[in-house]
């Protein structure tokens, strides 16, 4: 028994040693991302697990990395997904960077990340639209956006826009009924297996999800719910406050400006987005990140910009993550704390007055 586990450990170590170091500054085809995920698991078996939570139209697995200390209890969750739109290659690149970064920080004894991983789990899907991503690596189809489900009826084009397929005011605005269109919303809400996988998986856990982050490009934006202008999030003010603070942090890194607002305000109205689904499901913080750039390279962001793009996106994401963590675990948010402090001092002042009055009265 001892010998078997020793041999097992040795093989794992050898595997780790011979495995090529993953280059975070180049774009990787899906097979390499898949191998990398296995490598992350092997290198961090104490806090990483891989969960298969769905299948694409072409029957490929949709996997997430679950990262956090195992406490046995159900923990609070930070959700991040990348690669919902195939051509936005910087997005899966960011998920890879993000995972590398949080693991690195976790290993620093006494770090904030180490504390957060005790209390929260990170669920990160490096590539959600696996079929689409693979298709965008083929010759001549680099700018593919949608999934790869075939058209129906008399419409022969492929693909549903996954970010128009979620069941929040589905099919109402900013979406096309033409299956050849890039914003085709599907035959029905959640008709795509990819979108349905996300909702099915999170429905059971939504009470524990603190933050839903979905990563896109391009445009340099932080979008808050909702995409339909007729819906307003009850915590719109708070979402804007946190989003604007995140954008301010991002600008400090490399000077890039990110605009913040609802999609109908700063970009275009749309319906059926995953961000909207998350907010409506009760997840309090839900954001879309549109990463670099502003249109010079667009979807084909040069590889030498991967690192700076990821660094600034990481600082923005971490600002939001730190905020939700603080709000959940350190008593209260700063606003509520301020209210408490103000109330306490007011009460104190009134009691003092009371005592003085009472003293004078008697």
């Amino acid at each position: 028994m001892m010998l078997a586990s020793l041999v097992g450990m040795l093989l794992l170590q050898m595997g780790a040693a011979t495995r090529a170091i993953h280059d975070y500054n180049v774009y990787h085809p899906y097979t390499e991302i898949d191998s990398w995920m296995t490598g992350i698991l092997i290198d961090n078996p104490d806090i990483v697990s891989i969960e298969r939570y769905g299948q694409t139209y072409e029957k490929r697995d949709i996997n997430l990395l679950r990262i956090g200390e195992r406490t046995g209890a159900m923990k609070k969750v930070v959700w991040m997904d990348c690669g919902i739109h195939a051509r936005e290659w910087i997005s899966p690149a960011f998920c890879q960077y993000f995972i590398k970064q949080i693991l690195q920080e976790y290993r620093v004894h006494g770090s904030r990340m180490a504390a957060m991983m005790k209390e929260m789990d990170f669920y990160v899907t490096p590539v959600l639209n696996v079929d689409g991503y693979i298709y965008s690596w083929l010759n001549g189809t680099r700018l593919w956006r949608k999934n790869r489900s075939p058209g129906t009826g008399s419409c022969s084009c492929y693909g549903t826009d996954l970010n128009r397929n979620f069941n929040v005011t589905w099919g109402t605005i900013g979406v096309s009924t033409n299956c050849c269109s890039e914003t085709y919303g599907g035959t029905a809400a959640l008709s795509s297996p990819e979108a349905a996988s996300v909702t099915r998986y999170l429905e059971q856990r939504k009470a524990d999800v603190l933050l839903f982050l979905t990563i896109h490009s391009y445009g340099q934006l932080i979008l808050v719910p909702y995409g339909n202008p007729n819906l307003t999030a009850p915590n719109y003010g708070q979402l804007m406050k946190v989003g604007l603070a995140a954008a301010a942090e991002m600008k400090k890194v490399h000077g890039m400006s990110y605009r913040v607002g609802t999609s109908p305000d700063i970009l275009y109205p749309n319906s059926g987005s995953s961000r909207d689904w998350a907010r409506l499901a009760g997840i309090p913080y839900s954001f879309t990140f549109e990463l670099r750039d502003n249109g010079s390279f667009g979807f084909e962001l040069p590889e030498d910009q991967i690192q700076p793009a990821c660094e600034e996106a990481y600082s923005g994401a971490m600002h939001i993550i730190n905020h939700v963590h603080r709000e959940q675990f350190n008593g209260s948010s700063s606003t509520a704390a301020a209210v408490s402090v103000a109330t306490a001092s007011l009460l104190g002042a009134l009691l003092a007055t009371c005592v003085t009055v009472a003293n004078n009265a008697f």
């Binding site: 492929y158 605005i173 970009l267 390279f297 979807f299 040069p302 009460l347």
Partner: protein, 309 residues
Amino acid sequence: MSPALMRVLWVVVLLSAVRGAPLGTVTPPPVILEPVPSVPVPSEPVRVDSGADQNISIPIHTEQQQQQQQQQQVALDVDVMLTGELNPNHYPARRAAQVVLHHLNTRYGSPYWWGALRQVHKATAEALGDSGRKYSLEVTLQDQISGTKETCTAEVVFPGGPAGGPPQVTTSYEGKSEINTQAQEEALYNQYNTSQNLLSGHNLPDSYGHVAPGMEPFWHLGGVASSFVMLKESSENTLYNMAQVVSVTQLATENNQLRFNYDVLLHEMVSQEIIHWKLLASWSPQEGVKASQMELLPKCHHCEPPQEH
């Protein structure tokens, strides 16, 4: 203790029990405007539908499909557009500002000067009745090559009526402040002003964002020439960028202008469509860039490469 003071204390006690986010909806901060807008439904560029559908057999003969088309159209007609002072970070100002950029590229662009929108500072819009709508803007643009920034004011008129037509732009911009692109331009012009070894290239940038060494000026030139197309195709419902030069092929010089056949992919942000255009770009340091023979190519739905598993 006086009853008044008691009442105050009760109020304070009750207030201190409130925690967390306020209940109920909070409306977004109002934009200064009149009347209260409903956000326009982004229309797919009409050309895309007519051009793109050439290769598809989607017979619009069922009643349901006809109704759907009409419904989308109804949504567009009923929308009320914003007038007055606009939020410069919101999309109406940004789309108008992008039109300014395309205009400036057609006027001042070259293989060594290619403008991009950096910031919108101020924007207002007014309705011109049947003549359309006018935007007044203050924007900062940036040359993507040297990084130099310039601020200018501009007016954009989107013509009204069924005929439509391209937007009309005027600006306070007086020309590039630095003249040192002249030497580079002349060197490039002289290098390629021969009938030997006509230049050709493709995929600028490639899938990884790389532009082959020595090809950057022709990527920039493609972007500038594309601005002619993007300018004439723009409306208040579009936001165009060039996604990629698919191919560039030099033709023989004519009238002292270098000439290139370009095959480009444009990205229209609102519809998210990739739109394929061909054009002929001519350029010289003296004349600047001109685009002609602009032709929309249909979206190729049946050009699906074999699947890899």
